[in-house]
Point group: C2
Chain length 306, copies 2
């Protein structure tokens, strides 16, 4: 196999209570990438469609993660990468993560799978760091492992795959404004109240328990964020209206996706996820801000070969 | 049935990463209580053996929890409570919780089980509040539900029963010094670093996952406390030596039990739990401080009728 085409999915990080550690993978929203073995050694970004992103390997997240892996494995060939980008950079649904994870996933396949998924995540984190200015794994882990993931620790890297109930669907609104991860991090305090932290880790524990037991009612009670949402929601126009209407339409929970501006809702069943979509559409279509709306099953597989 | 004799077990709260929310129940350490229906209306503490605790109903945790339940149910009888106390007050293994939970459990049985376990926990919390000065549920929930418990929220009260792997054993050392919960709370900061909180909730999530999957290796990696232990461990003489020796002997994790001074270790298998006991004994027997050492299976049942 000398060429591979993949679907590199969008992902939702934080998942309300799990700031910096939880993530899940989407199924119908993502980039496509074509990666080709070449006799020329090196990593070459040969095409990026839809968005104006750098072709220089060292300035592109897909290039940086691929190059780190390439330098570690030292294969007797090179790789060309074409990126057909559908996830807008800065949307908060893992645009850079899809690219950083996609390139290493594809090169690993073309080389006969020398690395396991955790090792791929290590290299994808290096690409992500270019976009974020720091090491974060919540989006890349969700893209590579699929389903719900918990970043237990970065050093050493340990990713846990949490069971994903069959009937869980996400509705994502992406208001077409850009919030950089760095800006979004700047609004967060260095210190938080111990009592809020206790609430948050109770919710993380109960969300994990609810995913193991497919307890949607408990999921609903656990999808709360008392730490980050109060600071970041002000960056997202009409956040409270999105949330109120989504919950009224039956969403189990609604919160900021990653560092925003996208907002995710989780629902039991496709029908409810579509009602949530409609409810958010009704609100946002009057606001004069362009937006995308997606409904997706949770993608338990992660990156897929097309 | 007009009289009931019960075993009211000791419990371990916090469980390293789960400050104020996690707990587990012990099997071989606990009080005995005899509760008897009387024609005289009211709650009467008629005997307390081994420790000098108040017999006045309103000043005794078992009395306060029983009275709260009694006033809610208004039964056409009264109850006498005898307490054969084996868990030293202030030991950090749920002495007051055993009493507060035991009385309501027994009265509920004598009345034909009108209340469910969460409702009993509500009343037991009122007894605990007398000892602690605030509402906490981590010990009483573990005593009433058994196994591992997660206090998802206090208001409304929601207790989750987390699966308990079969082969998990606790070793508890109780140095015979007293640390009051109120003192132990006073050393904690009101605010903590966000980055530490993230570490803590990753550990809570992974500990819950490890209990669901009986993954002892992950349990070992999750049983860490970066928030409370650094402040409270100084209150416990030779804490670091206890911990180092317990871990060297094979414990999965070692941390402060509740607000201390007891220190728990969790081990895979009885043999390792006994090695941990021996290792701690070797250290502490040279220190000139009296202590108790217990090894116990995790008690998945909670309070038992004898």
């Amino acid at each position: 196999m000398d060429v591979i085409k993949i679907f590199a999915p969008a992902t939702v990080a934080n998942v309300a209570c799990g700031f910096d550690v939880l993530g899940f993978c989407l199924d119908t929203v993502g980039d496509e990438m074509v990666i080709r073995k070449t006799t020329n050694k090196g990593i070459f970004i040969t095409k990026i469609e839809n968005f104006d992103l750098p072709l220089e390997t060292e300035l592109n997240v897909a290039g940086v993660s691929a190059l780190a892996m390439y330098e570690a494995l030292k294969p007797d060939c090179g790789f060309e990468i074409e990126i057909y980008k559908n996830i807008k950079p800065g949307s908060g649904i893992g645009s850079s993560a899809a690219s950083a994870a996609g390139s290493v996933f594809a090169i690993n396949k073309l080389l006969g799978n020398p690395l396991n998924t955790t090792q791929l995540t290590e290299f994808a984190i290096k690409g992500e760091a270019l976009a974020n200015g720091c090491d974060v794994a919540d989006n890349v882990a969700a893209a590579l492992f699929g389903g719900f993931t918990l970043v237990k620790s970065l050093n050493p890297l340990e990713i846990l795959q949490i069971p994903t109930p069959d009937n869980l669907f996400a509705t994502i609104i992406h208001p077409q404004i850009e919030i950089k991860t760095s800006e979004s991090r700047a609004v967060l305090p260095d210190h938080i109240k111990l009592k809020d932290a206790i609430t948050q880790w109770a919710n993380v524990g109960s969300l994990i328990h609810s995913l193991h037991t497919s307890d949607y009612s408990l999921m609903q009670k656990s999808l709360h964020d008392v730490i980050v949402e109060p600071h970041r929601s002000a960056l997202i126009p009409y956040y409270d209206e999105i949330k109120t209407n989504a919950l009224d339409a039956g969403a189990l929970g609604t919160c900021i996706s990653g560092s925003g501006p996208s907002v995710f809702s989780l629902s039991k069943g496709l029908e409810t996820a579509n009602l949530v979509r409609q409810a958010i559409n009704n609100v946002y279509s009057k606001k004069g801000i362009d937006f995308d709306l997606h409904v997706s099953k949770i993608n338990s597989q992660g990156i897929k070969i097309l």
